[in-house]
Every structure is written in structure tokens, then in C-alpha cells.
Amino acid sequence: MSPWLALAIWLLVVATIIPVMGMAIGYAEMKISAHMQSRIGPYFAGGRFGWAQLIADGVKFFQKEDLVPDNADRPVFKMAPVLVMVGTVGLFVVIPFGPGLTPQNLDLGIFYALAISSIGTIGVLMAGWSSGNKYSLIGGLRAAGQLIAYELPLVLAVVGVVILAGTMSLDGIVQAQISWFSEAGWAWGMPFVIVQAVGLGVFFIASLAELSRIPFDMPIAESELVMGYLTEYSGFRFLFFFLAEFANMFTLSAIAATLFLGGYWVPGVPDSILQFVGPLVLLGKIALFVFVSIWLRWTFPRFREDQLQTLAWKWLVPISLANIIVTGILKVVI
């Protein structure tokens, strides 16, 4: 197979997966929140269960006028959603969907993933600055402050896993979980969550903050800042942000599942079968994380900016540092 053909196939896969996953998560959010609030949620679109609601929404967004405010910085304003999307798409490159089903198995996989996910921040900052709107500006600055604060615990939480696995490759981390304890005569491996529960907690909280979801949605904060950095966006540019949020949920959940829950792997299933069920297993684990974040989203109000910073610097960072130390000691002892 020529490399160009392979590239085209991967591109096609990614280009399908992102909107489909975005829509699936969006639909799940609508339905789950509805059931939490004694509502029904989407009902009519598509005939049954409102399954086509998100498609209808997407079509609606494409029909809307693409408005750019007069005093916006036009090129920056137009580029921002694209940049946000780039950060999301880039993440798909390193996620292992099954044995040998990693689009690109980088040696520095997790390092790359954390780095590329921060690009979205620049997009958000650009959106906030270029809109020519005070609400957007405050929202963009809040986003910047928030993402700087939570990038650190996010990285530190991963360090524990990297110490245990001895590799930064995401596929390598899954393999490490498969073979973990095997030299001690254990039949199957174990997911790292067993000793990295604290790391998972910090990673999950920090990734919620990265996603700007309630309780960390100060950059949007519709009751204060109208829509924050999204205030001036409409039509398909808004759709880009919208999809990027849900796709980002998907990828960050995938990384969390890979790092802490063993990714595509289930105990006792041979590789030959995992080749096919691996992606489904991963999807199941992603769904777990997505559900929890939707659950939190509709239960909590949002933090205040200073409380959020306090949580990051005074709690999450020290906890993850302690976690690294404990993990290091464990690694030596075991």
C-alpha cells in the first residue's frame, strides 16, 4: 500500500470519526441531561429518540450567516476556530485503538498529545482577543489563565503512569499494562488505575478544566460573560468550537482510558480478537469518562476564577507531585 493511500485512508477515518463522535457525545449530553432534569430531551428529529437532532443542528449552523463584527480582527477571528480544531484533530494521531491500530505510534506519544492539545488554547485566546468585544476579551483571558493553571497538573498526573510504564508511547503504555505483574506470575496484567487512582483523579479534573466544562466553564460563563470568547461567533465557526469541545472530550477521555484503564485492552482476550473489538472496548471506556463529565456538568455550578486557581495551584499540583514521589518509590520497591 502506498504511503499516500494510507494517509488518505487515515485522513478519511479521522474526518469521519471527529464529527460522528462529536455528535454522539452531544446527543448523549442532551439525553443524559434531560433525564437528570425530568425532561425527555430530543424527541422528534429523525423519527425516533431524536437521534438526528445533532445533524439537524449542524445543518442549521451551516445555513446561518457567517457574521464577523466590524471591529473584529478579521483574519485572526476567522482562524481561531480552525486552530481549535487542529488541536483536537492532532490528538487522534497517537491514540491506540487496538493492537497495531495506532495511526502513528510515536515514541513520545503522550508528550505529543499534551503538547498538541494546548494549541487549542491559543485558538481560544485568539478568539477572545480578536472579537472586539469586552466579554470575549475577559473570556479569552480567563481561558488563558485557566489553561496555564491546569496544564501543569495534567502533565504531572501523567508522570506517574510514565514512571510505571517506562515509556511515553501510548501503545507502549497499553502494552505495559498488559504485561504489568506478569513477571510476578500473574496471569493477566492490570490497569494502572489500581495504583494511580490519585493520578486519574487529578488528570480527570484537569482535563475537565482544559475542556472548559462546568464546573470550570468560566471562559464561557453564560450568566456572566454572555458566551465568553464565543459571544461573537455564529454559523459554522461556532459549530467548529462546538464540535471541537465534544471531540476534545472524546480524545481526552481516550487518553485517560489509555493511560489509566488499559486502553483497548480487556483481560483474557487475545490480540487476534482485540484487533477487532479493541476500538469498541476503548469506546466503552471513553463512554464511562464522558458520562461522568456530563454528570458533573449538570450537577455543579461553576467556580469563581480565584477558586479555580486555588484548586489548581494549592491542591492539584501538590497532590500530583506527591503522587509522583510515591509512584517513584513504589517503582523502586516493586
Binding site: M36, Q37, N71, K134, Y135, R302, D306
Partner: protein
């Protein structure tokens, strides 16, 4: 927000930022943030002109008047029965409760005493209006803090209460149900000839009992959902403290005043409705912060539900309307009648000259005084706290501007 960035430079301003005194030497322009009149959480058309320095606001000027409808002027050319239709629209979240003090003022001027059953019906509906108003607060306040779910629980039961109000009065928001000397007989409860004695719709009392049980269980649900929420506590405890002496001097009334520790409730003081027959408590806060204002309103829902149940159980039978002349002419005189509305003290100063309408009607509405404290309360707060404090005062712009 369409306007351009408007920068005012305060070169040698020394400001206290989060406890640390920062001397501003560089040219750091302050940003004027215009919150409203169209904004998701200004409850209508309140406008706040806030000077902000980053996240901190240091001069927040409320601007009102976007909904001034001139009811005091309009009242001067209307007859007394026509005015009740106007004043329904002052605080539309509890439209029914607005009518009571005005009707009572007119009755006192005329020397008419409404029958006991009519007074009980008024009391039941007033307390229902209070429940529905406080449920709206319970719905909107967490939303302003960012939590959407309590909205649906609260509005679900508010709907039941509004259905009951509609059942009796025919109107959900603007019942216009009171008549001088009693209440208007229920819609659809019989042929609408004047001679037929009409009464509460069949099944109303039983359904009310049922609805109050549901309201009480919803109040428990809301308490579980909101009061047990760490982030809610972090966002509201110790935020927006109104000391009692300041609240009193500004004329802040109702739940906002009681949250500051002043147990002043006009239901116990004024006798516009027979509240003395019922057993209820006046919840009083301690700190006067946003959390207390939330808690007082939740507790008042429970107390009101209890009052409604007692009233439903003990409602006397009898006529709904006292004998009044066909054409209402109110004898000359002046009177001020105030009532404990869901938002606070609502009063009408009626000056009558013996005509069909008042010579002058002064409307004292609660929200007007309640939000006049905003400038004091918002000095030096953070932008998210502006919304938290503003929302906790529970105002309605119709009640502010009249």
C-alpha cells in the same frame, strides 16, 4: 456591547487588589463593562455600568428605567377596579400578591370588610404567589451560578402552583381576581349570571393539599441538590454580606432583610390578611450573605406551604363578596397599606378625593429599594460575584421601574 473599548486612565490610583496594595504606576486603563440591559442574568432590562480592573469591579452603577411604564400616572385616570389590572403587572412573578395591598387600601377607605371566606381565598392565593415567586428564585439563582438542573425541579412545581392559581382566577400571571369587598367568583364554576353564587372550583382544595405536599418534597430535593453542593457553598458563603443596619437604612425589605438577621415580617405586623390565625415561622438568616438569602427563600417556601395547608383545612364557608355599590366611589381620605410581598414590602399610598379613581397613587415596590443597595454591595467585588449578589437579591424589573 457594540460600543468600542472605552478606556479611562487613572494614573495615580492606588487600589487594593485581593488584599495586596498595588500602586499603579504604569498606564493601566480601566475597562468599562456594560452589563445589560440585554444580558442573560439581569432579570430583564437592568443595566450595570461596571468599571472593571481585570476581574475586579470597583464602581458598579445600576441604571434602571428601561421598563418604566408610568403606572402612577396611569392610575390617576383609571377607576379603582381598573387599577387592579395595572398593578398585576408590577411584579409579574407574583402578580396576585400585588393586588392585595391596593384592594385592602380601597376597602379600608370605603369601610368595607370582605367576608371571611374571601379573605382566606386571598391568603391562600397570596401564599401560592409567594411559593411560585420563590420557586422562580430557586430556579434562576443556581442557573446564575452555573448549575442548570435545579431550574427544572423548581419550575416543574411552580407550574403546578400556577395551574392552581389559574384554576381559581383564570389567569396564571395576571389574575386580576380581587374585587373591592371580596374576590371575583371563579371562572367556569357556574353560569356567569350575577345572581348565581359561585365559589372555588370543585376539587381545588384537595388539589392544593396535594400540590403543597409536592412543593414540600421539591423543597427537600432542592436542598439536597443545592445545599449539599460544595461549589455552591464556596460561591455564596460570605459573598455579598449586607449588614442589618445598612439594609435597613436603604429600605431593603423582605427575604433580603430577614437574611441579614432582622426578623421583620409584615405578615406579623400588618393585618391586611388574617395571618394571625395561622402558625408559621419567620426564617431569619445570620450572616446576610448570598447563602442566607437563598436559604431564607427556601425556608419561606416551606412555611408558605404550611400556611396554605392550614388555610385549606380551616377555610370557612360563606359569601365571597361584601355588599358594595355597583359603581365604586371611594370616600375622600388617605391611607398607606403595606403587605409582605414575596420580594419585600409592597405598599400603596392612596389619596382619594371621593371620585371614581384616586387623586394620587404612590406605589412602593420592594425591588426598587432592594436594588438601590446594589452600588454599595458591589463595590470591589469580582465579576462573577456581581452576578451572584445581584441574583441573590431576587428582583424583577417590573417591580423596580413600575
Amino acid at each position: 456591547m457594540g460600543e468600542e473599548l472605552e478606556m479611562t486612565v487613572a494614573p495615580d490610583m492606588v487600589r487594593n487588589l485581593a488584599g495586596a496594595a498595588v500602586s499603579v504606576e504604569l498606564e493601566t486603563p480601566d475597562m468599562t463593562l456594560n452589563i445589560g440591559p440585554q444580558h442573560p442574568s439581569t432579570h430583564g432590562v437592568l443595566r450595570l455600568v461596571a468599571k472593571v480592573d481585570g476581574e475586579r469591579a470597583f464602581d458598579v452603577q445600576p441604571v434602571i428605567g428601561y421598563m418604566h411604564r408610568g403606572y402612577e400616572k396611569l392610575s390617576e385616570v383609571r377607576t379603582y377596579p381598573q387599577i387592579t389590572a395595572l398593578i398585576n403587572r408590577i411584579d409579574w412573578v407574583s402578580g396576585y400578591a400585588n393586588e392585595i395591598p391596593f384592594i385592602v387600601a380601597a376597602e379600608r377607605l370605603m369601610g368595607v370588610e370582605p367576608p371571611e371566606r374571601a379573605q382566606f381565598i386571598r391568603l391562600i392565593l397570596t401564599e401560592m404567589a409567594r411559593i411560585s415567586s420563590h420557586l422562580v428564585f430557586q430556579a434562576s439563582y443556581p442557573l446564575e451560578l452555573g448549575a442548570a438542573t435545579p431550574l427544572f425541579f423548581a419550575l416543574r412545581d411552580r407550574e403546578r402552583v400556577l395551574d392552581l392559581i389559574e384554576m381559581v382566577t383564570g389567569g396564571r400571571f395576571h389574575p386580576n381576581f380581587n374585587r373591592i369587598g371580596g374576590v371575583k367568583p371563579a371562572v367556569g364554576a357556574g353560569p356567569t349570571t350575577r345572581k348565581t353564587i359561585q365559589d372555588l372550583p370543585a376539587g381545588f382544595l384537595a388539589e392544593t393539599r396535594d400540590a403543597m405536599d409536592r412543593v414540600l418534597s421539591t423543597a427537600d430535593q432542592l436542598e439536597d441538590l443545592v445545599a449539599g453542593n460544595e461549589i455552591v457553598l464556596a460561591r455564596t458563603k460570605g459573598i455579598g454580606i449586607l449588614p442589618p443596619e445598612v439594609a435597613i437604612a436603604y429600605g431593603v425589605s423582605g427575604p433580603n432583610l430577614r437574611a441579614s438577621g432582622v426578623g421583620f415580617d409584615l405578615r406579623n405586623v400588618s393585618d391586611y390578611l388574617p395571618y394571625h390565625l395561622f402558625d408559621f415561622q419567620v426564617p431569619v438568616g445570620e450572616a446576610g450573605d448570598c447563602w442566607d438569602r437563598w436559604w431564607v427563600r427556601l425556608e419561606e417556601i416551606r412555611q408558605s406551604a404550611s400556611i396554605v395547608r392550614q388555610a385549606v383545612d380551616s377555610i370557612p364557608s360563606g359569601p365571597l363578596q361584601a355588599k358594595v355599590p355597583r359603581i365604586i366611589k371611594v370616600p375622600a381620605g388617605e391611607i398607606y397599606v403595606r403587605a409582605e410581598n414575596p420580594k419585600g414590602e409592597m405598599g400603596y399610598y392612596v389619596v382619594s378625593d371621593g371620585g371614581l379613581g384616586p387623586y394620587r397613587l404612590k406605589i412602593r415596590s420592594a425591588s426598587f429599594s432592594n436594588i438601590s443597595i446594589l452600588r454599595w454591595a458591589l463595590e470591589g467585588t469580582l465579576v462573577p460575584d456581581i452576578i451572584a449578589i445581584m441574583g441573590s437579591l431576587d428582583f424583577v424589573l417590573g417591580d423596580v421601574d413600575r
